[in-house]
Subunit: 113 residues, 2 copies
DNA sequence: ATTGACGTGCAACCTTTGGTTGCATATTCG
DNA sequence: CGAATATGCAACCAAAGGTTGCACGTCAAT
């Protein structure tokens, strides 16, 4: 079972600041460390580090435009991440549901009055 | 939109060790710091700290049984977490899909030959 | 072309968090 | 009682998220 989600991806999207960054990059179709820093409660330098993490995880790419380093999300990769995220939720849900069903069956079998 | 997921819950399930602990607790219907430590690549003390985090997030509860502190997952809460997890994935997917659609429409409108 | 403003990168430093070892304490069982 | 077991607590360590300060390219306007 082991969730099939590689931990690098999880640790990338596990951070709340990074999730907000992804949201902003999606909403605005890209951005720079400075532009993101202006919309987040952290400094530009912190944003830079997060962008590096997202880049290593393959969730964003950047290209130099003059003095700017413009980042954009890799839609393919983020879609994959979203799918795996949903999978984990679904897996937990399924296991809980199955346990509940078994518990009910035992309950019915036990009170055989 | 802001994902509706409170960050305490995310940071709780964002950690790979804690996810494995939840899996084990589900699979075995509960466990102790010692029993979990025996099945994980970390020490009992580390497990204890993780259990405290999960407890604060409301994902597990424990009751003292003799010298044991037996933990079990709160199925209601974990189900809620699973649902919200799936929601985030779905939200990203929807936004990406919408962006793609808009991009295609612009593309069609632009090459008006 | 020079100057000033802007976007970045880099280094030092702090705090939190995940993890460890070591030891003390309480409880169960033979 | 005494040994084994389950836990709690404290000190300590490394990595991650965050900050400040500074140096360096690049753009733009006089």
């Amino acid at each position: 079972m082991s969730t099939a989600v590689d931990d690098e991806l999880w640790s990338a999207i596990g951070d709340p600041t990074r999730r907000r960054m992804l949201d902003l990059l999606i909403a605005e179709g890209g951005g720079t460390a400075t532009s993101l820093g202006g919309q987040l409660p952290v400094t530009r330098q912190a944003v830079t580090k997060h962008l590096a993490v997202l880049d290593r995880a393959g969730l964003v790419h950047c290209d130099q435009v003059g003095r700017e380093r413009r980042y954009r999300v890799d839609e393919q990769q983020l879609a994959r991440a979203a799918a795996e995220l949903a999978d984990v939720g679904a897996a937990w849900d399924a296991r809980l549901r199955r346990i509940k069903r078994i518990a009910e069956r035992i309950h019915r079998a036990t009170r055989q009055d």
